[in-house]
């Protein structure tokens, strides 16, 4: 694609900008910031990836994946400030997802151990683990707010913190996994996934593109289950003190 052609795609930014102004939506500034940020961030990543791929150095690759983990953790923790030590718990979940998925993919030689495969797949797994962690934290908070009397009831009857919060925890884990599972049920019927579309547009064989997409969606299932489970089971204890009382 030429830069002239790319510039012409700004028409797609201009349309919502005009609509926002005409309808007094007040989103012009946000649209401008979103466009500017996505352009700068993606171009920067493009240049960085080019550099990392050419350098063929494991150190740069590890640095890049580490940076992704740090940024994803810092972003997700904003939704979990009400839980003590949540930063490390989210980081642990994301690192676990990364180790499990890359461990299987590289360990069984499913994909080659090169930055061209490791970095994009890591990006998808880490990004998804971040979103799942945020979904879990939002839902867990809502469950606790709505069903605080149930937690108190179970404690008052002699239940342990784990017993008292079990239902809310399981419901939040389940709720955070459902979007991943549901989106996979209609994949290919309603929309073609971004990665697969990108490969096909880039000239790849559709069957080959589908195979890689299947690899990703299967890995995303593990990603969803592992990240919400780890964040959930490591964080619920911080809601209680050593006398098995809910922190107020």
């Amino acid at each position: 694609m030429t830069y002239t052609a790319l510039s012409l795609t700004l028409i797609f930014v201009f349309i919502p900008f005009i609509l926002s102004k005409a309808l007094h939506l007040g989103l012009e500034k946000d649209i401008f910031i979103a466009t500017a940020r996505s352009t700068v961030q993606l171009l920067a990543v493009g240049y960085i990836l080019s550099f990392v791929f050419e350098a063929e150095s494991a150190i740069f690759m590890v640095l890049m994946v580490s940076l992704m983990i740090v940024v994803a953790t810092l972003n997700a923790r904003k939704k979990g400030r009400w839980l003590r030590g949540i930063t490390w718990k989210i980081a642990l979940a994301i690192i676990a997802v990364e180790l499990i998925t890359q461990g299987v993919l590289l360990g069984f030689h499913i994909v080659p151990a090169t930055p061209q495969y490791i970095i994009p797949i890591s990006g998808m797994m880490i990004g998804n683990a971040m979103v799942i962690s945020i979904l879990f934290l939002n839902r867990f908070r809502a469950e606790l707010d709505a069903r605080a009397d149930e937690v108190e009831l179970l404690l008052s009857l002699g239940g342990t913190p784990k017993q008292a919060i079990h239902r809310q925890l399981i419901d939040a884990i389940k709720a955070s996994m459902i979007p991943t599972i549901e989106s996979q049920k209609t994949i290919g019927l309603v929309q073609l996934p971004g990665m697969m579309s990108g490969q096909i547009i880039g000239g790849a064989d559709p069957i080959q593109a589908v195979q890689f997409q299947l690899l990703i969606i299967f890995a995303l299932l593990t990603c969803a289950a592992v990240s919400s489970t780890i964040v959930g089971f490591t964080s619920y204890r911080t809601l209680f003190n050593e006398r098995m009382q809910l922190h107020h």
Binding site: L154, L155, S156, L157, G158, M244, Q245, L246
Partner: protein
Amino acid sequence: MSAITFQNVSYAVEDRQLLTNITGSFEQGRITTLVGPSGAGKTTLLKLCNGLLSPTSGTITVQQKPIDTFVPTTLRQTVGMALQAAPMISGTVYDNLCLPKKLQRQTLSIEDAQKWLEDVHLPASLLTQQARDLSGGQRQRVSIARTLVNRSPILLLDEITSALDRTACREIETLIQKINDKYGTTIIWITHNLEQAMTIGHHTWVMMDGQLIEAGPSSLLETTTNEQIQAFVRGEAR
């Protein structure tokens, strides 16, 4: 002998002082009613008794043992509590009655569950009914039965008759008196109904603004010389 003793107990959350220097005891095997205006700290005091909260200062003893020497789960089985809202877990009435046993990894037989329902004057056929479909009065009775399953020697009741009509209220009062007589259970009962406080309670604590104003035989509500309590009894400070 006292079942629970408070010695200079205070409780604060952040900057809010909810209880101040409470000293007194609840006699074993007796019914003590707890009265006072809303926000007097009555529910907070109950939660301190079964360890859902811990005092900021002062000491509480339960059955002559400092409260913090109990394992929290054992304490809460010893000092049972029926909550004001009578919350139910999703499932049937049987699921709710099983809950205390399930938390101890035990089971409750259908026969035992039926017996607990009969004790609170509910038909055995209710066992298979969904708890969410219960009426306010039925909910409250199931909540009491569920608390009784642990056979706690001390029972805390937080306004358990506030949502009931006069007949249902009277039945619950009779039930609690029966439990007190039959099992020698120590009962601490928060109520807004002063007539109930006097007829049911052997003793009464009057609380206001987080302080214990007066404690003694329930007749104190009629005989007190304390002007604050007199105003409260007249309905001027509820």
